[in-house]
């Protein structure tokens, strides 16, 4: 949406920039092409080069080193972040004009935004939403805002007797729509405080679904609420439609690269050099299995042994697993087996596939050697 139009508009105002862009694109295209034929060696290596050829260190060591990475360009990054301080007043101005601020550019913007909030947004109550976390409960957030407003309304009403309260039940037990419609009706006459929602990574994994974005868009439309958000993903604008962009969020974009490391934002991403090895999966599987009951472990063992014995097959049919387990007195009914299987599925210990003859098959997503190792350690 926006980027394409932006390009069109940019082309109108400055043709030269566009040409430059084209040149850049073709340059990288030819670079890529050039590489391919010229280096048969490289091509061969691309086919052969495997992660396992590298001497990869253990994940724990890797994580320990991660914390010790010496910062590069520390002073420059600091100076760059500081240079945005001059714009704080302008940002506040726009916020007061009714716009939302959307910050993008490479580097963590968490510190920048929180510094902006704590030095400049003193007239606002600032609520920080950490969108980079794997799960965020937005309903709690809006209920918090609503409760805050509600307290203020009550305080006001005390001063002006005669008005009665409309809300009888507490906010958390109401539906999200009800809370939002309550928030929408609060104007500066009703409540004193203005709230600024500071959303780190509005494009984060927890907020990426349409429902969360709708909810945020509606909240930022409320008269007493403003939004300041950051995005990091290059495709983040695709989260919003025209209505959200122009009438709800009313974004004013700012390009503020900070080059600051994504320390907290990156915590929940798997490490690229640690995910490939089977050791990791075996280890996690072991941890999960050890936390299960001995019976469940035995059921898993039955499945694993079957898989090792019949590597060629697509998996073990559920019915034969049930029969085997009954024989060994591991389960008494299909229901108990199913509860074990649910547990396995939830932790990605087994996958279910449809067999070619139509029945469900179970398969452990591990290679034979990894599986053997797992059985030994279990």
């Amino acid at each position: 949406m926006a980027p394409r139009g932006g390009r069109a508009a940019a082309a109108a105002s400055s043709g030269s920039e566009d040409e430059e862009e084209d040149a850049g694109f073709s340059r990288s295209y030819f670079l890529a092409k050039e590489k391919e034929p010229s280096s048969g060696k490289k091509r061969a290596r691309a086919a052969a080069g495997k992660l396992s050829d590298l001497n990869l260190v253990d994940e724990q060591v890797l994580r320990a080193s991660l914390a010790e990475i010496p910062p590069k360009h520390e002073e420059e990054v600091e100076a760059l972040t500081r240079s945005y301080k001059d714009q704080y007043r302008n940002w506040l101005f726009e916020l007061r004009c009714g716009f939302g601020l959307l910050m993008y550019g490479f580097g963590s913007k968490k510190r920048l935004l929180e510094d902006f909030a704590s030095t400049t947004l003193t007239d606002f109550t600032v609520i920080v939403i950490n969108g980079y976390l794997p799960s965020v409960n937005l309903k709690q957030v809006i209920a918090t805002i609503a409760e805050m407003f509600w307290d203020q309304i009550k305080a006001k009403r005390k001063r002006q007797p005669g008005t009665r309260s409309q809300l009888s039940q507490p906010f958390p037990s109401q539906s999200t729509d009800d809370i939002i419609s309550f928030l929408k009706h609060q104007t500066s006459d009703d409540v004193d405080d203005r709230v600024c929602l500071l959303i780190h990574n509005i494009d984060g994994p927890a907020l990426r679904d349409a429902e969360s974005q709708q909810c945020l868009a509606q909240v930022s439309l409320c008269p007493q609420v403003r939004a300041v958000a950051s995005i990091d993903h290059v495709n983040a604008p695709l989260l919003w439609d025209k209505k959200m962009v122009h009438t709800q969020f009313r974004w004013s974009w700012y390009h503020v690269p900070t080059f600051a490391p994504y320390k907290v934002e990156g915590v929940f991403y798997p490490l690229i050099l640690a995910s490939g090895g089977h050791a990791q999966t075996t280890k996690t599987a072991l941890v999960v299995l050890q936390s299960l009951t001995p019976n469940a472990q035995s059921v898993f063992r039955v499945l694993a042994e079957y898989q090792l014995a019949n590597e060629k097959e697509e998996g073990m049919p559920v019915s034969s697993l049930y029969t085997k387990c009954r024989e060994r007195f591991l389960v008494s009914s299909q229901v108990t087996l199913n509860s074990h299987l649910t547990e396995f599925k939830d932790h990605d210990l087994v996958k279910i596939r449809k067999h070619s003859d139509g029945q469900d098959c179970l398969r452990i997503p591990l290679g034979s050697d990894a599986l053997e190792k797992l059985l030994q350690e279990l």
Binding site: A12, S28, V57, L62, L66, H73, V77
Partner: protein, 722 residues
């Protein structure tokens, strides 16, 4: 940012809480001077705001105080200006749609009376918990399909909002259902609940029709129909809507609920969406909305040509807005939001912009004089140093107050006359399908006019060949020239009509209006007979034979004369910076963020932002660069998949090849953590950790995707070329 107060609340716990209240509002009241003071005391080290920055005198404290005061003034000015513009926009759009609204209202009234003519249920009857039994034919819900003709739905939101307002002010009960509510997730129950919530004040948990019935038979509600507006029919779930229709149709005699549905595509849409059974329960009526370009023309006239609030835009900004409309998405909504952003940027960046609202004052000169005299010395100095004043020939700086007040008064007068003349041009142009926005853009183009001034005897457009940045008609001439051509060939009766409209537009511009009247009076008598005979073609050539100068030529000459004298672009006038927004770059970057391009540029050319001494500028990759920059540059050499092994080897090679001396310098920065003396930086583990972190950062930016289980050695590259 090294100052720790901001870091204090940022403990580790805060980082993993889904949400945190960072702080409460400092002073709970409307931003008064008291709270502004508070802001200051809490951040003594903050840099001066923009206007204060301009004053370099040592009284910094006072300066900052003034800065805050004037910032507040500018915010107020923005709100006043924009609310004025918004009101104008609302009015224009409402007026354009008024015809349709009246049709809808008419239809509502007719439908209501026809429903009531079948039977008029008693209050008691309505409340009984079952539908009224009549013939099947009477259980059809009157439904109006409004064809919006917009591909983008976003413009229709305001239309339907206005429609709701219009119907409500005429006594109807209104409820709106959005496509989100008419979804399988909410089901018909949720949808009905939402309907109740809009009509009733207290909604019980159990939503049923009897609640609606008992509300409806209250005396004040009883004599009006309930209109349910569904603005975006195509997006609704057919099943849910069908169910709602079936449910309400049984009650329509008791509770007259009518539908108004917006359709963006064609009349086929409801047939595809609803079951035939549900469709049979609807009694249809089709209505159509005006087109977006009509609306744009009306908006341009009301907001840009006649600046309703003093605020205006420069040629570059106008061109940007025009392209934004025609090339971006063609919605009025995005046009308006762009204009609003321009307006806020103007008031945020221009220290003197608060004077803009003087244009709205009854006695503007006095307002400006008062305000100017109260201005601190530094800002006064700034005012007389505005580029437009230093350029102008009349540069007598001894009385800057008088200068500015005069300048602004001239601007005010200019705005009125300028818009009148432009509308005269458009009046002619509309017979040749010239868009108002195009004429507007050409008329405020300073390049056209400056060249014109040097060749004053020539027509404006002849000189401007190729200089119009894309505003050109098919013939390669400017729009104003096209208008001049058009007027020469206008048939007499149309010309007379045009002249009459001119005299309305030019009211208050004494001399010129007299000339128009003169034209009208001299020719109406003489040409009245001929006017009927004249055809659309070649009026002028016919009449040249008679030896008299034809009316068309006279009108053209007059128009040309007026155009040259009065149609001066705002950017030539002194003090125009105060009311005119010019910074198209700022507007563009705020309106259209382009993360896809910018994030890649950040990474590929980090020096432009970091300005470090250790890395070479240019595209060469060096080990001292930011790790993620190195990775991103290396990734450019791959196709859509990146072999992790190779990538790692290349990364390792790059960082190890870096000049060790330079590296030491970077690492031993004074504020380094005291944990350990330098750990074995080049150790295998460290390189791998750096590689991992850089890859994660690229993943967060959406530049690469993790290797899949099936191809564990290959990462996927997502973006190609900035």
């Amino acid at each position: 940012m090294s100052a720790p107060p901001c870091d204090a609340p940022l403990t580790a716990a805060n980082n993993i809480q889904p949400f945190v209240v960072l702080h409460k509002a400092a002073v709970s009241s409307v931003p008064s001077s008291q709270s502004r003071r508070q802001v200051q005391t809490s951040q003594p080290s903050s840099p001066n705001p923009k206007p204060a920055k301009r004053c370099d005198d040592p009284a910094g404290e006072e300066c900052e105080d003034d800065g805050e005061l004037y910032e507040q003034l500018r915010i107020e000015a923005f709100h006043r200006t924009w609310s004025r513009i918004q009101a104008t926009i609302d009015k224009v759009l409402r007026d354009i749609n008024l015809k349709l609204f009246d049709q809808v209202l008419q239809w509502v009234k007719e439908s209501f009376s026809s429903v009531r003519s079948i039977t008029r249920p008693h209050h008691m009857e309505v409340q009984q918990p079952y539908p009224l039994l009549t013939d099947a034919i009477c259980t059809r819900i009157p439904t109006a399909f409004v064809l919006t003709k917009n591909v983008e739905f976003v413009d229709d939101i305001t239309t339907f909002r206005d429609l709701a307002g219009h119907l409500e002010s005429n006594g109807c009960h209104i409820a709106k259902l959005s496509a989100a509510e008419l979804s399988p997730k909410h089901g018909v129950g949720g949808c009905f609940r939402s309907l109740l919530r809009q009509l009733l004040h207290d909604v019980s948990d159990v939503a049923d029709v009897s609640a609606l019935a008992s509300w409806y038979c209250e005396a004040e509600n009883f004599d009006q129909p309930i209109i349910v507006i569904i603005d975006d029919l195509e997006q609704c779930s057919g099943d849910v809507l069908g169910e709602l229709v079936m449910m309400l149709s049984e009650w329509v005699i008791k509770i007259p609920v009518f539908f108004v549905m917006g359709i963006a595509t064609t009349l086929d849409a409801p047939k595809k969406l609803l079951s035939s059974e549900a469709l049979q329960r609807l009694e249809l009526c089709k209505l159509t909305l005006g087109s977006p370009s009509d609306r744009l023309n009306a908006l341009v006239e009301a907001v840009l040509v006649k600046p309703c609030a003093g605020f205006c835009i420069s040629h570059e900004v106008a061109m940007f807005l025009r392209n934004y409309f025609f090339r971006h998405d063609g919605t009025i909504t995005s046009f308006i939001s762009a204009l609003k952003l321009a307006c806020s940027k103007h008031f945020s960046m221009e220290p003197l912009s608060f004077l803009c609202i003087g244009m709205l004052e009854a006695d503007c000169e006095e307002f400006w004089r008062d305000k100017f005299e109260a201005l601190p010395q530094a800002i006064q100095k700034y005012a007389s140093g505005l580029p437009s004043c230093t350029n102008s020939s009349a540069k007598n700086s001894n009385n800057s107050s008088k200068n500015m007040v005069e300048g602004l008064s001239r601007l005010l007068k200019w705005q009125k006359e300028w818009s009148s003349v432009l509308l005269c041009l458009y009046e002619v142009g509309r017979y040749d399908k010239v868009q108002l926005l195009d004429i507007f853009c050409e008329a405020i183009n300073p390049d056209v006019q400056s060249e014109d001034a040097s060749n004053s005897c020539m027509f404006i457009s002849k000189v401007t060949h190729g200089n119009l940045l894309g505003v050109k008609s098919g013939s390669g001439k400017g729009f104003i020239a096209q208008v001049m051509d058009t007027i020469r060939y206008l048939p007499m009766e149309i010309l007379l009509h045009v002249l009459e409209v001119w005299s309305i537009h030019l009211k208050g511009m004494g001399e010129i209006n007299d000339k128009v009247k003169e034209l009208l009076s001299t020719t109406t008598g003489a040409d009245s007979g001929r006017a009927t005979k004249e055809k659309w073609s070649r009026t002028s050539t016919n009449s040249i034979g008679n030896g008299t100068v034809p009316l068309n030529e006279k009108a053209a000459a007059l128009l040309q004369d007026v155009t040259r004298k009065i149609l001066v672009p705002v950017e030539f006038l002194p003090f125009h910076e105060i009311i005119c927004f010019k910074n198209v770059g700022v507007l563009q970057s705020a309106l259209i963020g382009n993360p896809r391009r910018m994030v890649q540029l950040d990474l590929l050319e980090p020096q432009t932002h970091l300005k470090c001494s250790c890395c070479r500028s240019g595209t060469a990759v060096s080990g001292s660069m930011h790790d993620t920059s190195i990775m991103c540059s290396l990734a450019q050499e791959y196709g859509d998949v990146i072999n992790l092994h190779d990538w790692y080897i290349a990364f390792e090679g790059t960082i190890k090849s870096a000049n060790p001396k330079a590296k030491r310098k970077v690492y031993s920065s004074p504020s380094k953590k005291k944990s350990k003396p330098t750990p074995p930086v080049e150790g295998e583990a460290m390189v791998q950790a750096r590689f991992c972190r850089a890859a994660t950062e690229m993943q967060i930016s959406g530049l690469v995707r993790m290797p899949s289980k099936r191809r564990p050695d290959l990462a996927q590259r997502i973006t190609f070329g900035p």
